[in-house]
Symmetry: C2
Subunit: 144 residues, 2 copies
DNA sequence: ATTGACGTTTACGTAAACGTCAATGCTTGT
DNA sequence: ACAAGCATTGACGTTTACGTAAACGTCAAT
């Protein structure tokens, strides 16, 4: 585990371009130190980028991601600021729970579609026999 | 429950503009019937729009949403087409499960941040007493 | 007959999130 | 000394997902 990273190292590790990383800095989501112009990313910067990309996978716009990232750094501060942060945390939690419901609904739909799909393939196979059996596991876990 | 809907009815119901709905049609995500130029949306069209918006809340681009919507209509068809659909269903399932993991991780992070936040507010309150107690329930359910 | 309320198409504008050069700088091996 | 490789900052282009008019049709009510 390294102490610091170059911009291209992070780009390779996370599969994004250096242009994207610089863009995130431009939008004030990252603020690496410099060594004569060159950007030096600490492990905290790396973590921030990791969280940023998680937000992206959840479909959040960069401005939202920025405000969430700022929550991580809002450990201390004035009471007003803390209460404001607490309120935003609750809002974010609500959004996440709604997204979770959407995902569960989408997974249920996929199950239904897959069943229809598989059963129709079965009818096709019963007419025209002797095919290689495919790999169909319909996982039914609720949690995780 | 109505049989058909106008474009503005759907817009109001789902809180989107008619411009957006027409745009979705332009991108071939919807295809309502016409009555002398006017668009008439069936209940199936309404459901399609509902699914579309769910995809949007999950952060999917319209092109992805379109391909998912097409899965719903791919009940019958050739074997090749069914196998292709089955493959796409699995890919979509994988993405949903990864999104679910991201959400769980984000929820866990929010718990940590909230705890830090609340405890720091407590230290502030212990110095300057006599404040109204806030409403903090940290739900710990894993499923749903 | 006219006025709204609703609908239509066409066209241009815009914000977000980068991609793609171009011109330049540092620095490291030969 | 000099090229190779990685870095920098602009500047402009692109795609997505609509917003915002403009100009017009239609139908019901006054």
């Amino acid at each position: 585990m390294q102490e610091t990273y170059s911009i291209s190292e992070l780009g390779k590790e996370f599969g994004i371009t250096t242009r994207a990383i610089r863009f995130y800095e431009d939008k004030e989501l990252l603020s690496p130190t410099r060594q004569g112009g060159r950007r030096i990313y600490s492990r905290a910067d790396r973590t921030r980028l990791k969280l940023l990309l998680r937000g992206k996978r959840l479909g959040w716009p960069l401005e939202e991601i920025k405000s969430v990232l700022n929550m991580y750094d809002a450990g201390d501060g004035e009471l007003d600021q803390l209460q404001y942060t607490a309120k935003k945390i609750e809002q974010r939690r609500q959004q996440l729970l709604r997204q979770k419901q959407d995902i569960n609904a989408a997974l249920a739909d996929l199950d239904r579609i897959q069943n229809r799909c598989v059963s129709h393939m079965a009818t096709l196979n019963s007419c025209n026999d002797n095919h290689s059996s495919q790999n169909h596991q319909s996982q039914k876990e609720t949690s995780s």
